[in-house]
Symmetry: C2
Subunit: 152 residues, 2 copies
């Protein structure tokens, strides 16, 4: 995976959260590594196909996602309920779509699939495949979340 | 989603587990429903793109997957460790690939992405999207698992 892949995913994440949730997550240092898994309480996972096969995963701790969805819906939910899960699916879809639009602008064509949302305290999302993994941490005033992209 | 989609996923699941794990899971009654989520301890999720966008998810309870991977590796693991997670990813990939080969034989073209493996006691996988969901339960001598396909 080229370093030029970092910005499309990073900028898409910031744009979508800014537009939908009126907040600006602060990106930390992105890295490309050979193996990775993310831990959290709710995750959106979406497959990517095209010039390479892969997946995009956004993993949030509970406190962080309740804060983010609260900004999106106007009232902070108390639990990771179905409304929160659907909203995570929607954000994942939009970040995938906007990332792919940005990748197309630099000559990379990918199709997206539809998101699955995983919930469960402290679950782990493990990326399978021989390809490298791009990991971008973000911080908000209610904690950190991570965007991981695996392309095989 | 057409009922003709059932058999490719059903037969692929049986073939892959028979070939890799020397066991024949017994399929229950498949159904196509408008909303669904699966609960389990380990899940393989893979995106599908092409004439429709979707995802394939296989969700196992702990006892069932330890039994299945024990058959595959020759020794039953005690925990859902990294070896088990990688094996779930491999099985998910093979079931996705064989399903898509069977779909192609009846005129449907799909590409697969690469699997993510989710682990965490009692996690939920929720399919996002407006499309119907195909759910196929399977039973083994160590419990039941479910294959769910969402196409949007």
């Amino acid at each position: 995976m080229d370093a030029e892949f970092i910005n499309p995913f990073l900028e898409a994440t910031i744009l979508v959260l800014k537009t939908m949730c009126f907040l600006e997550p602060v990106p930390g240092k992105a890295c490309i590594k050979s193996g990775s898994s993310a831990n959290g309480d709710v995750s959106g996972v979406i497959g990517i196909a095209g010039e390479a096969e892969g997946s995009l995963c956004i993993t949030f701790p509970k406190e962080c996602i309740l804060f983010i969805i609260g900004k999106m819906l106007g009232e902070e939910p108390k639990e990771i309920n179905d409304e929160v899960k659907d909203a995570v699916g929607e954000l994942t879809n939009m970040i995938s779509g906007d990332s792919r639009r940005r990748l197309q602008e630099i000559g990379h064509n990918f199709q997206g699939s539809i998101p699955s949302v995983i919930s469960g305290e402290g679950h782990e999302v493990r990326h399978i495949g021989k390809g490298p993994i791009l990991s971008i941490p973000f911080s908000t005033e209610a904690g950190n979340f991570v965007v991981e992209v695996s392309l095989g």
